[in-house]
């Protein structure tokens, strides 16, 4: 491998750019270096059809002249490339107006100083080979073959070094790994099923188990029948719950959304039942841990919802300065008009088994996952989307039949308010940008507004 994987080399590169920026007149500067090797083996129709690998490094420079900010990025590390990077960022900073409320880059005391978090990197992922991923794909396919269904999916492994260094003393360095295996099984009799695993260490993922779960689900949904749309109580499996977390993080749990008046969030406002507690916690080893954000600020666990009540939102350095508080370590790479984002949402488990969750439905639906959801009304968190890969009618606490997929148009806030049971088992799954740890939940009512043909 020719990549300079040594984090010290990446930090030296960041320091080199910082020096160039200071020489070019920056009053403050921040350099983010991301260097990684990622690979993904994709399979469809029970064979590998796409198989890719990428090696790359990128530099992102935030260059300040007083309160005027320019940002430039580049993949080049040669002397001419670094010079151009600095010149471009400086030229932008020289061309823009001042940001009146610019509070400066975060200072060293906000940065991560604890060294490499052991849980953030696993050699099993960093050293994953094409043969390892192919073996995983074959294990999934074998399970599909055994059930007479067809496997589709992907197995991805990534190792990434993140360095954030700025002129106010931040030197945050971390090597992170992550891996995701997902599969959709499709049966000749119309059934489909889904399963997914996300882990820091790819060798902890059991491809056969993932393949079996999806294949069994596909067979269980064979010959689904139509169901009239309407209001039904539901049990949502973790694959569906992750969407609720993602969407609420997107529309509401960001300090910028609150500052702009577009969030549902108010401190103390009840948005969920007593059973709903959600924390953004990048230190939780159940997720994909990360020590700091893309400004190099150490991540702090933030309670978003406690027993149904809104507690806090996440901040980056700019939104924190506006509210006179400290950044919580949730900044995204500059320039970032979207504001801070909770990347590591963790929902507290409950006490119910899967059987108890389903057993509590007199007549309702068990939903495996959602597909193509989108916001219709941000302040009310009204979302539309489809069910996919396993939707079942439940009567008297028993699954009685698979049903064709349904469209829903539902306020996710109303959904949280209607949570009446939470599962004790949780899954780590891929979210919008990070990893989410979620249980299954039972919700008193869910509004389905349409149906499709499969």
């Amino acid at each position: 491998m020719v990549t300079e994987r040594d984090p010290a080399d990446r930090l030296a590169l960041a320091d080199q750019v910082l020096r160039l920026a200071e020489r070019a007149g920056a009053t403050e500067a921040e350099v983010m270096v991301t260097a990684g090797d990622s690979a993904l083996t994709r399979f469809a129709n029970s064979e590998i059809h796409q198989n890719v690998a990428e090696t790359g490094t990128s530099l992102n420079l935030r260059f300040a002249i007083g309160k005027r900010i320019g940002v430039a990025s580049s993949g080049r590390r040669d002397a001419d490339g670094l010079r151009r990077l600095v010149e471009t960022a400086a030229a932008i900073a020289g061309s823009v107006e001042e940001l009146g409320d610019w509070s400066g880059l975060p200072t060293a005391d906000a940065g991560h100083s604890g060294g490499q978090r052991a849980e953030a990197r696993a050699a099993g992922t960093a050293d994953a080979t094409p043969e390892f991923r192919a073996e995983g794909a074959r294990a999934v396919i074998a399970e599909a073959d055994a059930k007479g269904v067809v496997a589709y999916g992907s197995f991805a492994t990534t190792e990434e070094t993140i360095v954030v260094a700025n002129s106010r003393g931040i030197r945050s360095v971390e090597v992170r790994t992550n891996s995701q295996l997902l599969t959709v099984s499709m049966s000749p009799d119309g059934g489909t099923g889904y399963a997914e695993a996300v882990a820091t260490d790819a060798t902890t993922i059991d491809p056969a188990a993932i393949g079996r779960e999806a294949a069994d689900k596909a067979r269980a949904t064979d010959r689904a029948t139509g169901l009239d749309p309407g209001d039904y109580p539901v049990v949502l499996e973790p694959y569906a719950v992750v969407d609720i977390m993602d969407m609420l993080g997107y529309v509401g749990f960001s300090a910028l959304a609150v500052q702009e008046g577009r969030s549902f969030y108010e401190r103390g406002k009840r948005i969920g039942s007593d059973l709903v507690t959600v924390v953004d916690d990048a230190t939780d080893p159940a997720g994909l841990p990360m020590a700091f954000d893309y400004e190099g600020v150490a991540k702090r666990p933030i309670t978003l919802v406690d027993a149904g009540a809104c507690v806090d939102v996440v901040y980056d350095s700019q939104t924190a300065a506006r509210d006179g508080v400290r950044s919580t370590g949730h900044g995204l790479p500059a320039p970032n008009p979207y504001g801070p984002f909770p990347l590591n949402m963790v929902m507290a488990p409950g006490s119910a088994s899967r059987e108890e969750l389903i057993g509590g439905l007199a007549r309702g639906l068990l939903v495996t996952r959602f597909h193509y959801t989108n916001v219709i009304h941000p302040k009310l968190a009204i979302i539309t989307g489809m069910t996919r890969d396993g939707t079942f009618l439940v009567e008297d606490g028993q699954i009685v039949a698979p049903v064709r997929n349904l469209r829903f148009t539902q306020s996710y806030l109303d959904a949280l308010a209607g949570v009446e049971a939470v599962g004790r088992e949780r899954r780590t799954l891929r979210g919008f940008l990070g990893a989410v740890v979620v249980p299954s939940v039972r919700i008193a009512s869910w509004t389905f507004t349409g149906a499709t043909e499969h």
């Binding site: 597909h371 539902q410 499709t452 043909e453």
Partner: protein, 482 residues
């Protein structure tokens, strides 16, 4: 570049590749973000690298790197071959490509004013002026204005002897106004949600006349706060180009991607209801008025190029003719499976991604007869829906639901009062079969999106859609509880 492409191709061949292609891509990007009258972010990005794709034992492998050296070209070619051999351990059908002559040539997007040569101060000034015009309207909560430009220098070579160089330039800009009161959050966007985008130079941005249009759109955002809710019911709807283009994108563009039909996107975005038996049977996709073509030669479209990323020349491929489904977006691998040659729709998002079947310019052809205004005048009772706010469609592209920023009531052939929070839903082929009017050339305009997502790892595509507006009967509107 020849040295690098030759080196990668030679190395791949020497290691056993029966086919190889290499792409070297340099991408330059610039973006400006203005929020509520202040410049929130100006950024410039540059990336370059090479990607090598090989066939070994009938299986695909791909590797990429941002280091443009002959040593790295060797390494990447070797890695791609190793990956292909790993793919071959789970292979059931050897890949077969269509047969075609090597492609040679050069293409460049016609640009009158180079967006990267226009002084940054002028671009910022233009955007600030528009944003300020929107923000000066009483009742506006915040405004967001954006500008973006992207240029790619692409070199493609393959083991059959192709060698192509292309320079593709895209620009876009827009102004979005937000009005908030209590739980109500309304938005109006000019020229449409996400901004207007073209394969062009800065002349396109000037032509948008952002600052002249921003104010009236802002006034409408504020007016929507007190507008009545769009009521539920079965209605006649007229979609203007700013919504119709996304309807085409989601319900015709994606389902006609032949890789989806063959299941290769099943684990992520899904498959398609337009299975190959429907091509053979002449499936009625829409009414007789519906003619849809995938045209990579349309001037100004973001799906316009000289050759796709497999070296197949740009062409116009009919997808729906007189309402009948007649064709797919295809590649050199998929087209032979339906007895055709590639339609030239393979596009990659940069050097580090493989080409996938992507939309080019998916155009709903105009119909002589009525302009969009005349369609409204011809409508006794209906809704005129404009500018997308939300989109969703199922994994086979059948059940869709869209929200638009605004609905205007149509009564007696005239656009009347505003209605807020409009939504409409349907089944793709029922919807297109209900189309009873398509606008003529007078309202035909090229739109598109720079944010079309597909693939694992994810790729973002720039695609075009030329549309003129259309009318649909008996459509369900006003979905959900509000």
């Amino acid at each position: 570049m020849r040295e690098l492409t030759d080196r990668a191709l030679d190395t791949a061949a020497s290691l056993g590749a029966t086919y190889a292609d290499v792409r070297i891509v340099r991408r330059l990007e610039e973006s400006i973000a203005v929020k509520s009258g202040r410049v929130e972010g100006v950024a410039s990005g540059e990336t370059e690298g090479l990607g090598v794709r090989v066939l070994v034992d009938g299986a695909w492998g791909f590797a990429s790197s941002d280091q443009l050296t002959t040593a790295e070209a060797d390494r990447i070619a070797g890695q791609a071959v190793r990956i292909a051999r790993a793919s071959a351990t789970a292979l059931r059908n050897r890949v077969q490509l269509d047969d075609r002559a090597p492609a040679l040539g050069r293409y460049e997007t016609p640009v009158l004013e180079d967006p990267f040569s226009i002084p940054l101060e002028r671009k910022i000034g233009d955007l600030l002026a528009a944003d300020t015009a929107a923000g000066s309207v009483k009742g506006v909560a915040f405004t967001e204005s954006s500008y973006g430009a992207q240029r790619e220098w692409k070199t493609f070579a393959d083991s059959a002897g192709s060698f192509i160089e292309q320079v593709i330039t895209h620009v876009g800009a827009g102004v979005e106004t937000n009005a908030i009161e209590g739980n109500e959050h309304q938005r109006r966007s000019y020229p449409d949600a996400g901004g207007g985008w073209r394969a062009a130079g800065y002349e396109f941005i000037r032509g948008l006349e952002l600052s002249g249009h921003a104010g009236p759109y802002a006034e409408e955002a504020v007016a929507l706060l007190s507008a009545p809710q769009c009521p539920p019911g079965r209605r006649t709807i007229v979609l203007d180009p700013s919504q119709l283009y996304l309807q085409i994108h989601e319900s015709c563009g994606h389902p006609t991607e032949l890789d989806r039909v063959f299941g290769t996107e099943a684990s992520y975005a899904g498959t398609s209801f337009l299975t190959t038996d429907k091509l053979e049977e002449g499936f009625r996709y829409g009414s007789d008025l519906v003619d849809i073509v995938a045209d990579a030669t349309t001037p100004g479209g973001m799906g316009t190029f000289g050759w796709d990323d497999e070296g197949v020349a740009a062409q116009a491929v009919p997808l729906v003719k007189n309402g009948i489904f007649v064709g797919y977006l295809s590649s050199r691998e998929t087209a032979p499976r339906i007895g055709r040659l590639s339609g030239g729709a393979m596009r990659a998002d940069g050097w580090n991604r493989i080409p996938l079947i992507r939309m080019t310019n998916i155009n709903l052809l105009p119909k002589p007869g009525m302009s969009l205004d005349e369609i409204v005048a011809d409508t006794d009772d209906g809704l005129y829906l404009s500018s997308n706010r939300s989109w969703s469609i199922d994994d086979r592209r059948l059940n869709f639901q869209f929200a638009t920023e605004v609905a205007y009531e149509i009564k007696g052939g005239k656009k009347g009062r505003l209605l807020k929070n409009p939504t409409y839903t349907g089944i793709t082929y029922d919807f297109w079969r209900s189309c009873d009017a398509v606008g003529d050339e007078r309202s035909y305009v090229m739109l598109g999106t720079p944010n079309c997502g597909k693939g694992e790892p994810g790729q973002t595509g720039h695609v075009g859609h030329a549309v003129s507006g259309a009318r649909f009967r008996d459509v369900q509107v006003g979905v959900g509880k509000w």
